[in-house]
């Protein structure tokens, strides 16, 4: 019974727990519940992933109403993979959070924080699991609205304008997506993705083209694809560390997932990349984004802002992989989605540890922090190596696939640009490393102690995983490869139940 309803439980558990947080109010009890719920969610995701890998796609009719009338949940290779990432990071970050949160969010607001956290998580999971277009929009709004709130809970004043900016941009993006979905509904009379894919007019009706354009722009905005990334750096920089870690690891990744879903499952690769030529547009934007955002990251004094810009650049890598529209390219894009989720999540966690102990994440104030917080800085540095894509880290695996994809299609210049942009990553990572290791501890670096174990351990686990997945690639690259193949094969139409 439980096993059968896993897809529903995946979303419902955190969704129901969220209002309970508000009812319970007691900060300690609320956190206890969040902790249990987050790990339960992760267990669900793993169970789903294993079932999909064993016995193929799972189709689940919500409330017994069969699609196309009812809402359908559909777990395939790709969504199973994204669910594991989102739920996993959600659980780890929740485990990591309490000590840092105590310093950042007032006790009276803490139960609200956790309520929003769970809402955000269920929204992100919902996007990944649903097979219904309108449902995507609903979950998108759930996760977005809760993350506006989460960012605004950041103690500093600047968090408010950052949240407001995100609100405006996010709403514009969501509106675009809604218009796109509306047009699609108009053309096909269905909201079920699989159903829609079969009913779309093949010859590229003008309304479909407009819908495609609206959806592409809207999702790109949500995914912070250059040049629609302006909301992201401030939002990540001024949010509480817990929120930065959660969102950096999951939110933009889920948006990239929607992009994949729409392009490949609904519209189909032939339409999106053949007829519309969106591949070339995305490729150019991705490459420019990689360079501009990496260059911007070099000049950021604030570690969190630096990581945020780096995220924009890394999203460029993912989109680049998608834009190549080959198995290797998609594999690279999807595996980078996963790897970068881990790497960036881990680095934001390490940065959060520094913020807690040193009270600042301004690079110039962190002289010698490597001596006073050796484990934290080690995690940070290893994460940074992953960003650069040094062999032996997960970042190298994704870069290798992207390189291979670019060269397969004869885009040598693209391969060169890809590598040059990773050199920019060396520059921004190394500015921090030098500051941390090769200066005598001074200023706030002196007083800082090593982060508490409850924060350090999850950070090290996440960073350790990035190294582990740099060598053992059966899971991330294998799953991504399978997902890429099924996406390009248009597997959604032939899904089994």
């Amino acid at each position: 019974m439980i096993e059968h309803n896993l897809p529903a439980l995946q979303v419902v558990i955190p969704l129901v727990a969220a209002p309970l947080c508000v009812v319970i109010r007691n900060a300690r009890a609320v956190y206890g519940m969040t902790f249990v719920v987050a790990w339960l969610t992760f267990a669900c995701a793993v169970a789903l992933f294993i079932r999909v890998a064993d016995s193929g796609d799972i189709v689940y009719a919500m409330g017994g109403w069969v699609a196309p009338w009812g809402i359908e949940y559909r777990v395939d290779q790709l969504s199973g993979f994204v669910l594991v990432l989102v739920a996993g990071m959600g659980a780890v970050v929740a485990t990591w959070a309490p000590r840092g949160l105590a310093a950042e969010v007032a006790p009276s607001k803490r139960h609200l924080f956790w309520a929003l956290y769970l809402l955000c998580l269920s929204g992100l999971l919902g996007i990944a699991i649903t097979g219904d277009l309108f449902n995507v929009f609903v979950f998108l709004e759930i996760s977005a609205l809760s993350s506006y709130g989460l960012i605004a809970l950041g103690g500093r004043r600047k968090a408010l304008p950052a949240a407001f900016r995100y609100l405006i941009m996010g709403t514009i993006g969501a509106t675009f997506i809604l218009i796109g979905i509306g047009l699609m509904y108009m053309m096909t009379g269905t909201l079920n993705m699989a159903d829609m894919a079969t009913r779309l007019p093949v010859d590229g009706h003008r309304t479909v083209l407009v819908a495609f354009a609206f959806l592409t722009v809207g999702i790109s905005l949500k995914a912070a694809l250059f040049p629609l990334h302006a909301w992201l750096p401030d939002a990540y920089a001024y949010a509480p560390s817990t929120v930065s870690a959660l969102l950096a690891a999951t939110a933009t990744k889920v948006s990239v997932y929607i992009l994949l879903r729409f392009f490949l499952s609904v519209f189909g690769a032939d339409f999106a990349f053949g007829g519309m030529g969106v591949g070339q547009i995305l490729m150019v934007l991705a490459v420019v984004g990689m360079f501009v955002a990496s260059a911007a990251a070099i000049f950021q004094g604030n570690l969190k802002r630096m990581l945020a810009y780096s995220s924009v650049a890394q999203i460029g890598y993912m989109v680049l992989g998608i834009s190549l529209a080959s198995t290797a390219g998609l594999t690279g894009g999807i595996v980078h989605l996963f790897n970068h989720g881990l790497i960036k999540g881990g680095m934001f966690m390490a940065t959060g540890c520094i913020l807690l102990r040193a009270g600042s994440v301004e690079r110039d104030e962190l002289a010698g922090i490597g001596k006073t917080m050796p484990w934290t800085m080690m995690a940070w540095t290893l994460g940074g190596l992953g960003l650069i894509g040094v062999p032996g880290t997960a970042g190298f695996v994704s870069k290798w696939y992207l390189l291979q994809a670019a060269l397969e299609q004869g885009h040598v210049w693209l391969a060169v640009l890809l590598l040059l942009s990773s050199l920019l990553a060396v520059a921004y990572v190394w500015r921090v490393v030098e500051q941390a290791y090769f200066k005598k501890p001074a200023g706030i670096g002196v007083g800082a102690r090593e982060a508490p174990l409850s924060m350090l351990l999850p950070t090290l686990v996440v960073i350790g995983l990035t190294l582990f997945f740099g060598f053992w690639t059966d899971f991330p690259a294998g799953a991504a490869g399978a997902a890429a193949e099924s996406l390009l094969g248009g597997a959604l139409m032939g899904g089994t139940s």
Binding site: V390, W400, Q404, E408, A415, W430, F471, T473
Partner: protein, 476 residues
Amino acid sequence: MVALLRRSPNVRETVTLAAGAGTFLTALSLLGDVMAGIRPTFTLVEVFPGLPVQFTLEPLGMMFALIASGLWLVTSVYAIGYMRGHGEENQTRFYACFALSISAAMGVALAGNMLTLFIFYEILTLSTYPLVSHHGTPAAKKGARTYLGVLMGTSVAFLLLAVAWTWVVAGTLDFREGGILAGQAGGGTLLVLLGLYAFGTGKAALMPFHRWLPAAMVAPTPVSALLHAVAVVKAGVFTILKVVVYIFGAETLREIAGSEWLLYVAAATMLLASLVAMGQDNLKRRLAYSTVSQLAYVVLGAALANALGLIGGGLHILTHAFGKITLFFCAGAIYVAAHKTEISEMRGLGRAMPVTMTAFLIGALSVIGIPPLAGSVSKWYLLGATLDAGHIALAVALVVSTLLNVAYLVPIPIRAFFSKPEGDPAGQAGGLREAPAWCLVALSITALGCIALLFWADRVHQLLQPIAAPAAAAGG
């Protein structure tokens, strides 16, 4: 392997020595197998489908592994004397990173495919970075930044591209005799790939990507000695030799139209670096430029891609390693005992430090290639290779460069032995002592090695014979 024994320096150093001896003996025990033509393979994990992290023993790698592990042992002895005599900070980090970089060098030596080699190549760069910036001074940081920038930049921008490209073109990255690129791509592509490999291997210090080597001289001397005369730079030229022999295949390389440019770049590096070396007053910088020039010999041998060239290149890795490490040991010993770094200050040092300066003389003569020292053998092979290939101009370049070697190396011991110390003749020299005993032991071993290698040269020749076999068979 990594000594985490912060509190007890004696235990830490014993562990280092024991590990060094262990590594060397392991490598030595494998020598017999390789001589017998066995190629043991060990697969660690399969990172990408059909592309594992894999180790395979073959002659060239065997030799490099022996050099690196053997000289590590000697350097550890030396480092103990140097670091203590000098009262350096952060000694634990030093030994730990040292061990790490040696294991990375071993990984490079034993790599069974290009991906494995690349992974360890990068680990080597990263693990030596803390060693180069060991002093933590602004100068050290600046040097280390150049070091990391050039090595990381070239390897990521060129080498990784070349590796990925090779994978796409050839469908494999295994090191195979006769090369994997043979007949897989057009001449133009191969030419571009050759350029990417040659310049991507920044550790081979081919001009114009040689700047990191003099910059790395800010490191403590044991580091310069082992890493920048042996492990790191040799990993670079070793990679180039490997690429020529097992990726391109010697025969394919010779057939690529226009591949001669590599010969001329190598020759130009050889001559220019020698000229620059003459102008350096800082002893370590002069040695560094000399290394740049000597590395170009190996590249030259590889680029000629005939039997003599390949064996000569391989031999030169060995002989130069011994010669140059001796010179660096001496430079370090002089610094520890007399606190002198500039050549112009070294007048009359020979009287105060006879052992050191004698070793220096032996090392210098070997690097120059004067018989009966080891360096002469490899130079002889290389000279033969150029004539074999009919490049008279290159043979002349080799000879000229040898003369330049004489010009920048010989004056140092001459000045030390024959000129009077500056200023008050008696007083200054009287205050100087020999370097710590640990250092002297180490530098005597390597200096004797320079002589002994002459007699073992044919053994090495035997070991390296297989790599040149395809080239020889093709009439090279």
